[in-house]
């Protein structure tokens, strides 16, 4: 083995990087219990896969990489069912998301409905975040990533381009599509006005 055992100590990883990993997981999931589990799974996976660590990218980067995969897995498995139908359309080969929302003349096909009178209060209710995360989980991967980094982590467009290695134009398109779908999904599953 290339590394001596001292450099690969999961207890030290927990000590030095535990909080960073935890904050990232918490921002993504909004659930302390899940975030803790994800940190634990990450450290375990890192320990099991320690032979693959080459030391080139640095310990924290390596651990964050593992955590990102764990967060993705979590979204994929935890939210496979709740928000099945309306609001989120996969990005098929043929039509774009916009074709789902707008007709040939560019008019709304899926018309935005009026939300409750105090939308901001509703937006702060605890259950809302669960629904929001479920909607988020249904987005295609790139849209989910850009929406999360932009709206939940608060990165600006420039940082987003760097993080995802995409052009500004691409980022705008992804965010636009994500917003169309997130707005609709929340309307259906939280504001309960999807059938009008």
């Amino acid at each position: 083995m290339e590394h001596d055992e001292h450099t690969l100590d999961p207890h030290r990883w927990l000590e030095c990087h535990g909080d960073t990993l935890y904050r990232y997981a918490l921002r993504r999931t909004s659930r302390a219990d899940i975030a803790e589990d994800l940190v634990q799974e990450t450290l375990l996976a890192a320990w099991r896969g320690r032979n693959a660590f080459r030391g080139m990218s640095g310990e924290r980067t390596w651990l964050m990489g593992i955590l990102k995969h764990k967060v993705d897995d979590h979204f994929r498995s935890a939210y496979r069912h709740p928000v099945e139908d309306a609001g989120i359309e996969g990005e098929g080969q043929g039509g774009s998301v916009e074709d789902v929302f707008f007709d040939d003349r560019g008019h709304w096909r899926v018309k935005p409905q009026e939300w409750a009178s105090e939308p901001l209060a509703a937006l702060e209710a605890e259950g809302f975040w669960q629904v929001l995360l479920e909607c988020l989980a249904k987005l295609p991967e790139h849209q989910r990533e850009s929406f999360t980094l932009r709206e939940i982590d608060g990165l600006d467009t420039e940082q987003l381009c760097k993080e995802l290695s995409l052009s500004t134009t691409n980022i705008y398109v992804l965010l636009h599509r994500a917003r169309l779908q997130m707005r609709r999904c929340l309307e259906v599953h939280w504001f309960g006005r999807g059938n009008e």
């Binding site: 999961p10 535990g18 904050r23 450290l43 560019g106 939940i152 467009t157 705008y172």
Partner: protein, 86 residues
């Protein structure tokens, strides 16, 4: 580009406006369209609301959070077990 944009264009511009400032011509086109279109008025209002809620949320949690002692102990115990079983 005519001054009259359809909802598809306006929705795209409303989203862009969250990222960058629009050209005055685009801003004007959005305003004029929204005067006549209740759906685009709602859409614009709702994506801004969504952003405001998320910004507020960001302030509430995440950046100062840390793993508490019981969580650390739990994770350490699991790591110990895994190391012993190697």
């Amino acid at each position: 580009m005519g001054m009259m944009r359809n909802c598809r264009d306006v929705a795209r511009l409303l989203s862009c406006a969250e990222e960058t400032s629009l050209r005055w011509r685009e801003r004007w086109a959005v305003r004029v369209h929204q005067l006549f279109c209740v759906y685009c008025r709602r859409y614009g209002r709702q994506i801004v609301l969504l952003r405001r809620a998320l910004v507020r949320r960001r302030g509430l949690r995440g950046d100062i959070a840390s793993l508490d002692a019981p969580a650390r102990e739990r994770i350490q115990a699991v790591l110990n077990k895994s190391q012993q079983g190697k």
